[in-house]
């Protein structure tokens, strides 16, 4: 519970820091709206020619897009800034300050930064999901909404683990910023349901970079396309990803030489 206390302290500090720059909220809102509008136009272009994409209706695809924006907001506000700072700290040797603190190193490097205004995407994505859900033709009840949040949490944890593994590569190879670019590139593929991709590509997306669990799965919950087995698989994958991330991170730490080395 020590970890939770540390995390909430960092959270409070970061929120206070960000609240000093309130205009950024509107700047970010404008940017999010532009991005969502672009996505809507892309969807509209596809649906000029067909009203069914491998069995997904326009409203269902809109759910996928909303979840993609929402999860993107979580990544950009909570995960990306921490990983960025971890890379800088390893480069400059300032990770020493984390390691000398009497708390779990992985927890510390994961909660230090928060870009509050980036989380606007979580709101914007949520609005898109809600709007799309209202157009699905079936009511989305409270139980389903809870299941949706659970699926989102699983997806976010999986992506966090994966991102930590990629970032930890900085302990072995110095420039790992490019790997993160690759990750964001693959994440873009999550804008569309994983099912439309050919088999070999789906394999990469689902198992190497589990975008499917993070974006398509929660969308399937809302669209009532989910099989119970899929949720079970997601649970196992998330657990495995978390364990793998921890192992890789500490293996990397053992290679870390510090500022004076």
């Amino acid at each position: 519970m020590e970890v939770l206390r540390v995390a909430s302290t960092y959270l409070r500090l970061n929120v206070l820091g960000e609240l000093q720059y309130r205009v950024n909220f509107f700047v970010q809102l404008l940017q999010s709206v532009i991005a969502v509008a672009t996505g809507l136009v892309a969807l509209a272009l596809v649906f000029r020619f067909t009203d069914d994409l491998k069995g997904w209706s326009p409203a269902e695809l809109l759910v996928v897009m909303g979840v993609h924006v929402l999860v993107g907001g979580i990544l950009q506000s909570m995960v990306q800034p921490n990983m960025q700072r971890l890379i800088e700290d390893v480069h400059e040797g300032t990770l020493d300050y984390v390691l000398t603190k009497p708390a779990d190193a992985q927890a510390l490097v994961s909660v230090r930064e928060l870009r509050l205004w980036r989380a606007v995407d979580v709101l914007v994505g949520g609005v898109v999901v809600a709007w799309a859900a209202a157009n699905l033709g079936h009511a989305v009840g409270g139980a389903r909404a809870l299941l949706f949040v659970a699926a989102l949490a699983l997806g976010a944890l999986t992506l966090y683990s994966l991102w930590l593994i990629l970032t930890a590569s900085v302990f072995w190879i110095i420039r790992s910023g490019d790997l993160l670019e690759l990750f964001m590139g693959v994440y873009q593929a999550g804008r569309w349901p994983v099912g439309i991709y050919p088999g070999w590509l789906r394999g990469i997306l689902t198992f190497l970079i589990p975008v499917a669990f993070a974006v398509t799965l929660p969308a399937q919950v809302v669209a009532r396309r989910l099989t119970p087995e899929a949720l079970g698989v997601a649970l196992v994958v998330t657990a495995l990803a978390l364990v793998a991330a921890r192992l890789v991170f500490f293996a990397g730490l053992r290679r870390y030489a510090g500022a004076s080395a």
Binding site: V23, V27, L30, Q31, I34, A35, A37, T38, V41, A42, L45, V46, R48, F49, T50, D52, L53, K54, I173, R175, G177, D178, L179, E181, L182, F183, M184, G185, V186, Q188, A189, R191, W192, I196, Y197, P198, W200, L201
Partner: protein, 267 residues
């Protein structure tokens, strides 16, 4: 003039050597870049299949060819982003550049040319893999390919000038990210990047013909695929020249006025 040429040649050589140092990074980055067109390709192939094999004159093979050539054009289109320029101005990194007796524009341009040369080398295997995977059908002849090669470079030059000039707005407005976003969102939709221009509704096609975006992106691809005749090609190069001239005018004007407003850290 010959002094400027020497500067370009030397800058390109220096940048080339430093880019080569980071070839693994560049390679990873280009693989990441290849994901975007593959996504569009999959979506449009799915639509084409649902429509009985083709959409708006594009068959499966034509889409594959379009989005494979897309990658070359995408890499060639990369220019100094206005965000990078914004950071330069905010952090005062522009100051040392101003001390040199050469316009920073030339330094940047030479840098990006060298980066293209290294990237194009790395692109070759990526394209090979995609050709095997997606089985594209290329219709263009030797002349089309030659024109394509020229149009990617002239298109790059046009876009580089425009985007560099856009970055100069930072001299006046500091928090400008949202405006850049808008510019690039319009570019995304009207350049042929998400979808070939021919698949846009008529009014959007008209807008695309007037704006610069299509002429650096969709235009070279369409040339390579042999979809344009001589007149279309001439119009395309003409529009590139027109927008390059507009951009140069804006750049010179904004630079002259903006650089006087610039006060770096400690100045």
């Amino acid at each position: 003039m010959s002094a400027l040429r020497d500067i370009y040649l030397t800058s390109i050589r220096v940048s080339w050597l430093s880019q080569l140092q980071y070839r693994v990074g560049l390679a990873i980055w280009i693989v990441g870049l290849a994901i975007e067109p593959v996504v569009y390709l999959v979506v449009w192939t799915t639509v084409a299949d649902a429509q009985g094999g083709s959409v708006g004159g594009f068959t499966r093979g034509a889409f594959a060819a379009y989005y494979i050539v897309w990658i070359v054009v995408r890499v060639m289109n990369i220019a100094l982003t206005p965000w990078a320029f914004e950071e330069r101005v905010q952090r005062g990194a522009l100051s040392p550049m101003l001390l040199r007796p050469i316009h920073p524009f030339h330094v940047d341009l030479a840098d990006f040319i060298a980066m293209k040369l290294v990237s194009l080398l790395i692109l070759v295997p990526v394209i090979g893999v995609l050709v095997v995977l997606f089985d594209p059908s290329f219709q263009g002849g030797a002349l089309d390919v030659a024109l394509f090669a020229v149009a990617t470079w002239t298109g790059f030059l046009m876009r580089f000038i425009l985007v560099w000039a856009l970055g100069l707005v930072t001299f006046w407005i500091v928090r400008i990210g949202a405006i850049f976003d808008l510019y690039f969102a319009v570019e995304l939709l009207l350049s042929g990047r998400i979808v070939p221009i021919d698949l846009l509704p008529p009014w959007a096609r008209t807008a695309a013909a007037l704006l610069p975006f299509r002429w650096s992106f969709g235009f070279p691809i369409e040339l390579a695929l042999g979809r344009l005749d001589g007149v279309d090609a001439a119009i395309g190069f003409g529009m590139q020249a027109f927008w390059a001239a507009v951009g140069t005018g804006a750049l010179v004007l904004l630079w002259r006025r903006g650089v006087r407003r610039y006060s770096a850290v400690g100045a």
